[in-house]
């Protein structure tokens, strides 16, 4: 049954319904089963045995992006995301994991997993398939190509600039490591220019976000403990990541989960306090502004859920982007509404996901920006394939890539 922490959390719901207005999934389905309030009531019913586990309940529980938008507006301060994750874990006891997820989790995301290799295989397979085939509403040809070498294959474990000011551990995260190593390289180059020594501990594994959202607790616990060990081993001032979801999980979820499991959370909390999103870390580096050279372009910014709502980081990336000379910043409507990705959500509910990302793309186009910046590789992946064809699309870039570009221009001039 659900933990004491979550059981107490459930009692705080006053059923006011304000979470319905914030929920991207409810806004499209307009049914209470899709609403955060509805799911909280279902968990309550399950707990009081007014309801039993069912496949339908499992479907309802998975119809959530875990974007934490509901928690951000809840007057009672409910952590609805945690409750829904707990509901999924509960249902997993009855039905087990989908075989596809089981296979993927066991072989790709655990220690010694082969995510990079699998993506390479997928890449080869993809070249054999018709390019108009769709995956989660995206044409195969619109998805990014997977680079041959992962970030961690490209860079050494320790990168020392000429003069060392601070030392940080860098948590690359699976997507940046294997699909977008250029985001990682950009982050490392900016850090280097600022005299930051970077350590990427060899033993880091997937942060566990995909496991957490699937309710798979056992493997999550292994990954969690290994990452805490690896990140606390070297002597560093901060732990920096450029992935919104990894950052949120490391910073907020690890300690919460351990408390929920009735385990000691001291080490995870200590680790969590050191975690900074790259945009937070760079905002504190005052000399950065002086190093930036002009980047004449119109930019807009998409708030990743796990950064804006998960970590409360909204102003920092905007501040950094606006500090680049000659950037015209054009704020989009509903900038902090989810892109519709939600991890496996987009594969299980392609139609809902498609509707959500279409409104997002429309809001982006209205700004007339050439580039949409964001702070999460998963948002980038979701947005990229929905912003026009390969040649005419609005480009999606991580905030730190634009900073790196601006810094590089400085060197040239």
């Amino acid at each position: 049954m659900i933990s004491q922490t979550n059981a107490e959390g459930l009692q705080r719901c006053i059923k006011c319904g304000l979470c319905l207005a914030a929920c991207p999934v409810y806004k499209h389905l307009l049914e209470e089963t899709a609403a955060p309030r509805g799911k909280v009531q279902l968990l309550k019913a399950l707990q009081s045995e007014g309801l039993t586990s069912s496949r339908y309940l499992e479907e309802i529980a998975s119809r959530c992006l875990l974007c934490h938008s509901c928690a951000a507006v809840c007057p009672s301060g409910m952590e609805t995301g945690h409750l829904i994750a707990a509901l999924r874990t509960e249902l997993l006891q009855s039905f087990g994991l989908d075989w596809k997820k089981k296979l993927a989790f066991r072989h790709l995301l655990s220690e010694g997993g082969h995510l990079g290799l699998a993506l390479q295989m997928a890449q080869i397979l993809r070249s054999l398939l018709p390019s108009r085939l769709k995956v989660a509403g995206s044409q195969l040809s619109d998805l990014p190509s997977v680079p041959f070498r992962s970030l961690r294959d490209q860079v050494p474990e320790r990168i020392r600039p000429a003069r060392v000011k601070t030392t940080v551990a860098f948590f690359p995260g699976c997507l940046i490591d294997t699909v977008y190593p250029e985001i990682g390289r950009a982050a490392l180059s900016v850090l280097q220019a600022l005299g930051v020594e970077v350590i990427i501990p060899k033993g880091l594994v997937c942060c566990g976000t995909p496991l957490l959202i699937s309710g798979e607790r056992e493997m999550l616990a292994q990954n969690l403990k290994q990452n805490v060990r690896e990140l606390l081993a070297p002597r560093v001032d901060f732990i920096v990541t450029a992935c919104a979801s990894c950052g949120h999980t490391l910073k907020k979820e690890y300690a919460y989960l351990l408390r929920e499991w009735g385990e000691d959370d001291a080490l995870a909390a200590k680790m969590g306090e050191k975690v900074r999103d790259i945009s937070q870390f760079l905002t504190d580096q005052e000399e950065l502004k002086g190093l930036l050279s002009p980047l004449p372009m119109t930019l807009t910014y998409h708030d990743p859920c796990h950064l804006a709502k998960g970590q409360g980081v909204r102003g920092e990336p905007r501040g950094l982007l606006k500090s680049i000379p000659e950037v015209t910043f054009s704020e989009m409507a509903e900038a902090d509404v989810c892109c519709g990705g939600g991890g496996s959500f987009q594969f299980y509910f392609p139609e809902i996901s498609q509707q959500i990302v279409s409104s997002k793309a429309e809001n982006i186009r209205k700004t007339k920006a050439e580039v949409v910046a964001t702070g999460c590789p998963a948002c980038r992946l979701r947005l990229e394939s929905h912003l026009g064809t390969r040649d005419s699309r609005v480009k999606v870039r991580h905030t730190v890539e634009l900073l790196a570009e601006s810094l590089k221009g400085g060197k040239k001039r």
Partner: protein, 463 residues
């Protein structure tokens, strides 16, 4: 549970996809924003007036109770269904059909979200004033049924003041039209106003025609700190008496202010009895003049600090306090119930003095936030529902609040509705003849008594 035959007929009317009766669906339609819960027999999502009519014809033929519902933000329990009944959910009827700039009106289906209509008309420089705190999710149909108010009622009135015409499906399935697109209309009984605030007991609103206003040019907010609650109340009465009509005038007592400060850390003093928040809107020159007049009233009335916003950001900062009220309260105790009593504005100071006495007498916690400008007060009672003895004292305190308010010429509810939450107090406000004529009105619209089984006029759910 609904019988299989009726369920099949519902599916024939709207299609299998839009009838839900799995246990999981029923759980999620067993509540609104009030404390009680009760499972329905089925939930149906019509998409047109014809479908609503067909469902009600079926319900009449089989005598099945029907509970109409929008977003389920009802604070008085009128959207809570009964086990043998149907929840008729209008969220899928959500098209804005027309925005007529020349006649300054809009026509929308009942399931349109209040905030969506506001956004659409504001894009055309128009303005739909009713703004209940559920505005970003509650539906127009629900707003009409409850005659929803909000912060701006002191100047702009409630939902009722913006209704021109309604399309309504009666319990028999007959579709009626009330009102017209005209600014003036005295033809026949004013059914529009009868249906508005009828809490879904007479008919189901499917289409709403509302009056719009030009969008005010500017707005400006002010925050005044009063060491004495009575003086704050007097100041409100004096501002209204002087002929100034603020767009918003909100009052928070010491308990609320303290809770908001603990929650937001925005720098509110915790040792004062009242904080008054005022907003004025309109033409720039007028707004400037009135806000300084109000500031003067506050200073003369005993305010120790008066802060006038100088920018949109400062306006927002002032309203943050008010917007945080329920969040702050919800963190104080397991359950909170907001009463909704309303008195004539001149009696506001007298009513405000009663709350500390009532709280003391029954040893309950009462925190007060008031739409002071219109006399609508939300004394928030905090309690633990599991504590039976405390609940009994809360009940007595609530009853005394009602009695005191009525003695001052007030009313039970200003904007939340009676529903099942305050039905037991109705005889305190109405004499038997008044209650009787209301029952007769109900009977002539709904002779079988199938509509909104849990309401002020009939109550199936046991307290």
């Amino acid at each position: 549970m609904l019988n299989a035959g009726a369920l099949r007929r519902l599916e024939q009317i709207v299609g299998k996809e839009r009838v839900k009766a799995a246990p999981e669906d029923l759980v999620t339609y067993s509540y609104d924003a009030y404390l009680k819960e009760s499972l329905p027999g089925a939930v149906v999502f019509p998409q047109s007036t014809e479908e609503v009519s067909a469902i009600l014809k079926l319900a009449s033929a089989e005598q099945i109770p029907v509970t109409p519902r929008g977003a389920g933000t009802n604070l008085s329990g009128g959207s809570i269904p009964v086990p043998e009944g149907i929840v008729l959910c209008l969220t899928r009827m959500n098209r804005i059909l027309e925005i007529d700039e020349r006649n300054r009106l809009a026509v929308a289906e009942a399931g349109v979200i209040n905030g969506d209509l506001q956004k659409a008309v504001e894009a055309k420089n128009l303005f739909y004033p009713p703004d209940p705190s559920s505005q970003y999710i509650s539906t127009l149909g629900g707003n009409v049924a409850e005659n929803a108010g909000g912060l701006k009622c002191v100047k702009y009135g409630t939902t009722r003041d913006y209704l021109l015409a309604l399309e309504v499906v009666l319990p028999s399935g007959a579709v009626i039209q009330t009102g017209s697109r005209t600014a003036k209309n005295v033809t026949g009984y004013d059914l529009t106003r009868l249906l508005c605030g009828s809490e879904g007991t007479l008919g189901i609103v499917t289409k709403v025609t509302v009056r719009l206003l030009p969008k005010p040019e500017v707005k400006r907010a002010l925050q005044a700190i009063f060491p004495d609650l009575g003086e704050a109340g007097e100041t409100v009465a004096r501002i209204i008496g002087a002929g100034i009509i603020p767009s918003i005038m909100e009052l928070m007592d010491q308990a609320i202010t303290g809770a908001v400060e603990d929650f937001t850390h925005m720098g509110l003093p915790k040792d004062v009895e009242a904080v008054l928040l005022v907003e004025v809107d309109g033409k720039k020159e007028m707004v400037e003049k009135e806000i300084s007049q109000i500031a003067e009233f506050c200073q003369k009335g005993g305010a120790t600090e008066v802060k006038v916003a100088r920018s949109e950001e400062e306006n927002e900062a002032i309203w943050l306090a008010r917007r945080s009220v329920f969040g702050a309260l919800a963190r104080l105790s397991p359950s909170t119930f907001s009463e909704d009593t309303t008195v004539p504005v001149s009696e506001l100071p007298a009513m405000l003095r009663k709350f500390p006495q009532i709280a003391e007498k029954y040893k309950v916690r009462i925190a007060v936030v008031a739409h002071a400008g219109d006399g609508n007060i939300h004394p928030c009672l905090s309690f633990d529902e599991r504590d039976k003895e405390e609940m009994a004292r809360v009940e007595l305190a609530a009853q005394e609040i009602v009695a005191e308010s009525l003695a001052l010429g007030g009313t039970l509810s200003g904007e939340h509705g009676i529903g099942i939450s305050k039905a037991r107090f109705l005889p305190m406000e109405f004499n038997p003849a008044t209650l009787q004529i209301m029952r007769e009105v109900k009977r002539s619209f709904d002779p079988l008594g199938i509509l909104s089984p849990n309401s002020f006029i009939s109550q199936k759910l046991k307290e």
